[in-house]
């Protein structure tokens, strides 16, 4: 099935030696192989099955401070030679950049790999179909669930080798199992959709079919017959799956590349208060079995744990080698971005958040891009539920929520219900005083 280390190593070695022969002073190569087998189901009937197999390389050659990158999926020796040649030739005519280099040797990952990122389990398509059918069955058992947008199951396995001319050579297998269910509810001419999905490295960790189906149905039913509300300033609770989006824009805003270029609203905020005192954000790559866990980044640098925000203050950045040099900091293994990025739990229960004011809006879905990380402006389309006196009262849709991240960050309160379901994770989040655009 999945190609073993020796096979990938062999290709990597060829790339390194050939590039050196052609005059490269430094070389880095990544060889990847992945196989994914997916099924999709609609109305409890097989809708499709897909098998994907991908083998590819990404090669970067340096001549002094000149650098060029090539990637290819065509690895026949003849083509590979031509590609390496092309890469070295374009390196020759690319202008120098004094900051170009491989990562510092001292920062390379060394050591044991004990994170449990690979599950040997292989599921036959028949099993996958049964799993998803059971989820849809559960969803359809609810009144007013009339259709599906399609549900599915995918099993992905991959292996890779990263090697460079400074002696780094390492790689490992990972697996990912994903099940999703998306259903349509209908009542009095109102039609809504919603979904639930679960994606884990180990098959046994994903949501059971009945939970998947019932959650998707419950969400789609809750949205039926929504109202549009008046424009006003409101306290807003973001459901976990929306709240984690604030971490994604935060991670772009604290990348060393944004800091080096000054293209982030947080540019002057290192070591300063950015959030309220109770907010802490960490990025930990070494959580066993977690979706975002890894040993090293695409430069081979060990991805060490970071306390990015400590008691509200911006404490660290996501740094790669090149941009790190620009801001005079060493890489912390984030050339591939964040790993497992999360808010630490707050001190309020979910019920306490719901009861924090008489009237608030609980957001279950946002659409649109949302955050401008240069200005910090935030504006999205949204739908959710009105909460009055701690109780969900009616669904709301076709509204917008807007603010500026500088203010939003200072007005966040978090519940104590953090779970590690994705690679970025947040507890339920309350943001006070946002502007809702409606009628």
């Amino acid at each position: 099935m999945i190609k073993e280390k020796d096979y990938l190593n062999n290709i990597a070695e060829q790339c390194l030696s050939k590039s050196n022969k052609l005059g490269s002073t430094d070389v880095s190569v990544m060889v990847m192989h992945s196989v994914s087998e997916d099924v999709s189901v609609r109305n409890r009937k097989l809708d499709g099955s897909t098998r994907s197999e991908n083998l590819g390389i990404t090669l970067t050659t340096y001549i002094g401070k000149k650098k060029s990158t090539i990637s290819s999926s065509d690895l026949h020796t003849k083509n590979l030679d031509g590609l390496i040649n092309r890469c070295v030739e374009s390196t020759k005519i690319t202008p120098e950049d004094e900051l170009n280099s491989l990562a510092d040797k001292e920062l390379y990952f060394k050591g044991d790999k004990e994170l449990d990122l690979y599950d040997e389990t292989v599921l036959e398509n028949k099993k996958k179909i049964e799993y998803i059918n059971e989820a849809e069955e559960e969803a359809f058992s609810r009144k007013d669930i009339v259709n599906t947008n399609g549900s599915g199951f995918s099993q992905n396995k991959s292996n890779f080798i990263l090697a460079n001319s400074s002696g780094f050579s390492d790689g490992y297998k990972t697996s990912q199992f994903t099940a999703y269910c998306e259903v349509v509810s209908k009542n009095n001419g109102s039609m809504e959709r919603d979904y639930e999905y679960s994606s884990k490295r180990f098959f046994n960790d994903i949501l059971k079919p009945k939970q998947l189906g019932s959650k998707a149905a419950e969400l789609a039913l809750k949205k039926l017959n929504p109202k549009k509300i008046k424009s006003e300033k409101l306290n807003i609770i973001f459901d976990k799956r929306i709240a984690k989006g604030f971490l994604s824009s935060f991670s772009s805003a604290i990348s060393s590349s944004a800091f080096a270029k000054g293209t982030t609203f947080l540019k002057d905020k290192l070591n300063k208060k950015v959030f309220g005192d109770k907010i802490n954000i960490q990025d930990k790559a070494d959580i066993k079995k977690a979706n975002g866990s890894r040993y090293f980044d695409i430069e081979g640098v060990k991805t060490k744990p970071l306390e990015l925000v400590k008691d509200g203050a911006l404490n660290d950045l996501l740094i790669d080698t090149y941009n790190g040099k620009k801001i005079k900091k060493k890489s912390n293994g984030r050339a591939s971005g964040s790993s497992n990025l999360y808010f630490l739990n707050g001190d309020l229960s979910f019920e306490e958040l719901l009861n924090s004011t008489k009237k608030l809006l609980y957001i279950t879905e946002t659409i649109g891009r949302g955050s401008n990380i240069i200005t910090g402006d935030y504006s999205v389309g949204a739908s959710g539920l009105m909460v009055e006196n701690g109780e969900f009262s009616y669904p709301v849709s076709e509204i917008t929520i807007a603010g500026n991240l500088n203010n939003i960050y200072k007005n966040i309160s978090l519940a104590n219900d953090l779970e590690f379901n994705y690679s970025t994770n947040s507890p339920t989040m309350l943001v006070e005083g946002m502007i809702v655009g409606g009628k």
């Binding site: 990637s71 290819s72 349509v184 000054g262 659409i367 504006s379 917008t400 009628k439």
Partner: protein, 470 residues
């Protein structure tokens, strides 16, 4: 003669045999072979970041019976791999029996030339021009703090082998030139992005100093935004400028008219053919046949020749956009809208160039008629929920309208609307139809495909603006 099997041990004859053996009991399917070369050359922060080049080739083998799709793809084009895929497809569909219709419409139509844009301009010349764009932009004003510019070029060769031995081919060039700028004045930062592109050589978009216009435009938008004030929140009248703002049409109406959502009855439009879905002045087409446009195709990714499909005529819903699968299941014909991002993805009905045709009003008339509203000139991305019909898009250049006149620029606001009702709220359709500059990529089910849009100015009676001023 196949060009794409040349480097493999797989002969066209053998491929044909495997295809027949796999598809003879199916309703539809094909072997899709693709070879793509792609380059990006980027200047960022005063430096050529690096040049990147990639080659991706592979096949996607698809078999369909009834509404079940079996798909297998690999970047290893070989007899062994294709046989493995064939086994896979047969095992998925083993309990079904279909009838294959080998007939497919032929065409000699060519809407772009068979050029390789990557090779028609040397890397040196690209680097030189990016440096010029950077210097020119930075020399415009002290407030320009960051400039990023890039060339993206692609050459995609496609071959489609259907049951019966028919081999259909297309060769598709595509380029895009982007510039983004950050300006800073009195502690305030704003950015702007501008780009052009299509299915021609880079030089067609750069000649006679027209590259300067790209820089000028990005600079104009960024400096305009430096003066912007917070956007209002709430419902108001909206005037949309011509050209790129037609992504509203794409989001609000386009996606809901794609065959798959209507066959599955999850689109709000599924039972509205022949009914009024827009104001009388509204006619919308989806056209794959415009010369050199980003969304144009000679044949779609199933081999069907593209066409100009009328979606809405004078406000009445006429047609959906179809691929072969959805067309067959809905007893109609493919409109040449079957597209895929690449060989790794299944075909879906997708838009090409989606355009609202001219009406009779002037933009000035529209603005004069508004007491309080906004004039939206350009947008970033948009998104739609097909089932509920709700869509959003983010303004990147917008102005307030006060007492019939264009006022101050507004900070990036989100507009949100309801697809089926928003086109009924079109009060005036302009006479100034413009196509977008050639930069659109549409995302659906994780697949991005190049598309175009176009429209004249529009006056919409009522949309919700997501600003911060109550």
């Amino acid at each position: 003669m196949s060009d794409l099997l040349k480097n493999s041990d797989l002969s066209l004859d053998t491929a044909d045999k495997i295809v027949s053996d796999t598809l003879h009991d199916c309703d539809d399917g094909e072997l899709y072979i693709e070879d793509t070369k792609f380059e990006t050359v980027t200047l960022d922060d005063n430096k050529i970041k690096s040049s990147e080049y990639s080659i991706d080739s592979g096949y996607g083998f698809r078999a369909i019976t009834d509404d079940v799709i079996a798909y297998s793809h690999s970047n290893e084009i070989s007899e062994e791999s294709l046989k493995k895929s064939s086994e896979n497809l047969k095992s998925t569909l083993k309990s079904k029996k279909g009838t294959y219709n080998s007939e497919i419409k032929k065409t000699n139509q060519k809407f772009y030339n068979d050029i390789d844009p990557i090779e028609t301009k040397s890397l040196n010349a690209k680097i030189e021009l990016l440096n010029l764009m950077n210097e020119y932009s930075r020399s415009k004003d002290q407030s320009v703090k960051q400039v990023s510019a890039s060339f993206l070029g692609e050459k995609k060769n496609v071959e489609i082998l259907r049951l019966g031995g028919e081999l259909l081919k297309d060769s598709r060039p595509l380029v895009r030139i982007n510039i983004s700028m950050m300006v800073e004045k009195n502690g305030r930062k704003e950015t702007a992005v501008y780009g052009v592109g299509g299915r021609q050589s880079y030089d067609e978009y750069l000649k006679d100093g027209s590259w300067k216009k790209l820089c000028d435009e990005a600079f104009r938008i960024a400096t305009t935004n430096l003066k912007s004030k917070p956007s209002p929140a709430g419902e108001m009248k909206v005037v949309l400028g011509p050209g790129w703002p037609a992504i509203l049409i794409h989001e609000a109406i386009g996606h809901g008219l794609e065959g798959d959502f209507n066959r599955k009855k999850t689109s709000v439009f599924h039972n509205l053919v022949g009914r009024r879905v827009a104001s009388e002045g509204v006619t919308i087409i989806d056209d794959g046949t415009i010369d050199n446009r980003r969304g144009s195709l000679n044949i779609d990714d199933e081999g069907t020749p593209t066409e100009r499909t009328v979606l809405i005529e004078k406000g009445i819903l006429k047609n959906f956009m179809q691929d072969r699968l959805n067309a067959r299941l809905m007893n109609t014909k493919s409109t040449g809208n079957g597209r895929r991002e690449n060989y790794k993805h299944i075909v879906l009905p997708r838009m090409r160039n989606t355009i609202m045709l001219n009406g009779t009003h002037t933009q000035e008339e529209m603005i004069n008629s508004v007491n309080k509203g906004i004039f939206a000139v350009s947008f970033g991305g948009g998104q739609v929920d097909i089932t509920s019909g709700k869509f959003v898009f983010n303004c990147t250049e917008a102005y307030e309208i006060v007492d019939g006149k264009i006022g101050a620029p507004l900070k990036g606001a989100t507009l949100i609307g309801d697809g089926p009702s928003s086109l009924k709220e079109v009060l005036m359709v302009g006479n100034n139809m413009m196509l977008d500059p050639g930069i659109g990529t549409c995302g659906k089910s994780g697949q991005g495909v190049p598309v175009g849009v176009g429209q004249p100015s529009l006056l919409i009676d009522n949309m919700t603006v997501g600003g911060t001023q109550l």
